[in-house]
């Protein structure tokens, strides 16, 4: 019984006839809607499709192409891992540069962080794809830069900025007295940072860092917009190869959603659990 509904005196809820709620809230149902439709499309459409030509059912299509689509997904994961590795290295440097005693260094690092954090990731991706040449010459050596390498670099820029912010925030969260204590024991600034401060905030940095990873993993599909062949590109190609039937869109994109969900949800849970554990300590 909802709280807002006035109860007439003398009527017990149990005596009222059972009736489904008269106002189904569309906003509430939409979530599962997608999944329901996805499932329904997979289950119910075969029956409908069998009436017509011998077109395979959506479920059959998804199963048939799953190996190819999963290869595409593996490629997304690979890009995300590389972008994360590059971005973490660069971001740690940038974050430490923000903490540098040299005012100019810290100001420049701060500015770079703000720019790369606040510009949409897709725009950064465009930026790298269009402005980085397709090959570079290092010591007279011509290195080709395929699109996926550029895309990886494009994704590592926002990772870098976010990691830099995480590093700075974590270092700032260590009380000043720790710096003072280390200083009075004649530790240099560098020793203090690496031996005293960073080891303390490593734990604190882990959950937000994992969060960034989850975001970048999900963002890799944007590579399809700039012409890198990955899962979404393959999904569109599969759709075309199956005759471009409109009813195939939902199951195929539903499959992509499912892949990412299966990959990202455990990371999300783990992040939340770690966060709670570190908080209580």
């Amino acid at each position: 019984m909802s709280a807002g509904e006035p109860q007439r005196p003398g009527t017990l809820p149990v005596l009222l006839p059972f009736a489904p709620s008269r106002t189904p809230a569309p906003a509430r149902l939409r979530p599962v809607h997608g999944w329901l439709l996805c499932g329904l499309a997979a289950l119910a459409l075969p029956a409908w499709a069998q009436g017509g030509a011998a077109a395979p059912s959506p479920l059959e299509v998804v199963i048939k192409w799953a190996p190819l689509l999963l290869t595409g997904f593996a490629f997304n994961v690979a890009i995300s891992l590389m972008a994360m590795a590059i971005g973490t290295l660069a971001g740690t440097g940038l974050g430490l540069a923000m903490l540098a005693e040299n005012r100019v260094v810290s100001a420049v690092a701060w500015g770079a962080t703000q720019v790369f954090r606040n510009v949409p990731w897709l725009v950064l991706l465009f930026f790298v794809m269009f402005l980085v040449p397709f090959q570079i010459t290092v010591f007279g050596l011509r290195l080709p830069l395929p699109d996926w390498v550029k895309a990886t670099f494009g994704f590592s820029l926002p990772v870098m900025a976010n990691v830099a912010e995480i590093v700075r925030g974590a270092v700032r969260s260590v009380p000043d007295t720790q710096w003072e204590a280390a200083e009075s024991l004649a530790f240099t600034r560098r020793q203090t940072l690496w031996r005293i401060i960073l080891p303390q905030c490593l734990k604190r940095m882990l959950p937000p860092w994992m969060n960034v990873y989850s975001l970048i993993a999900m963002a890799t599909v944007q590579a399809s917009i700039v012409g890198v062949t990955e899962m979404l590109t393959l999904t569109a190609q599969v759709h075309a190869a199956e005759g471009g039937r409109p009813e195939l869109f939902a199951p195929l994109y539903g499959f992509a959603l499912l892949c990412f969900f299966v990959y990202c949800y455990p990371i999300d849970r783990l992040t939340a659990r770690l966060e709670r554990r570190f908080e209580t300590r």
Binding site: T177, A181, E183, S184, L185, A186, F187, R195, I196, Q200
Partner: protein
Amino acid sequence: MTRATPDGPPSPAWTPDRPIVRLRDVHKSFGTFEVLKGISFDVAKGEVVCIIGPSGSGKSTLIRCINALVPVSAGSIVVEGIEVTDPGLDKLALRRKVGMVFQQYNLFPHKTALQNVMMAPIHVLGQDRREVEARARALLAKVRLAGKENAYPGELSGGQQQRVAIARSLAMRPDVMLFDEVTAALDPETVKEVLVTIRELAEEGMTCMLVTHEMNFARDVADHIYFTDRGVIVEHGPPATFFASARDERTRRFLSQVL
């Protein structure tokens, strides 16, 4: 021990046999607010000096100036021949000679008690790990913490943490120890165990400078007491004369409140 007349700051010409710390006309301002307005005194080797005074009188700032945690605005400080106010000061060399213990202990929370004591000698002085470990264990035993080597700071009481902090400073084999209200954050029961440790240290001949509110302790262990208020030394002297016959009105009022 010969001393300057107790009713004024020591004259600049006066020097004890071997001054290990020498302050001359030290000024310190934060913005427009002048915390120290010309402090001068000497500390001889092996001497125990207590600095007392009301809150906000600049005691902690004064002690922080001595190991260059806080830069002074004017005047000069010399520690064992090192000119602290020299712009080209080698801060690390200074801090190897001067140990400091803080009110809030400031142990490194991610290291055990033993590791806290060992870190600086290994990383700063580059000493041999095994030798340092033996010394660290001995130091922990000396501050009566044998058996707590592998405890993390979070697992120790305030008094225990403070004694680890003292051992940590001693591991650097300093010539002077600075204590900044080291018992102010402790429970009354644990204050004593820390004071006992400091007293033992003083009796072994360590040069100590303490900022403290523990008047009875100051009376027991200090060779000389300085009373500061509003950035100047108002009155000083050996404990016997200082407590018995304070001349200045401010000192008397302060003593009547805390004793």
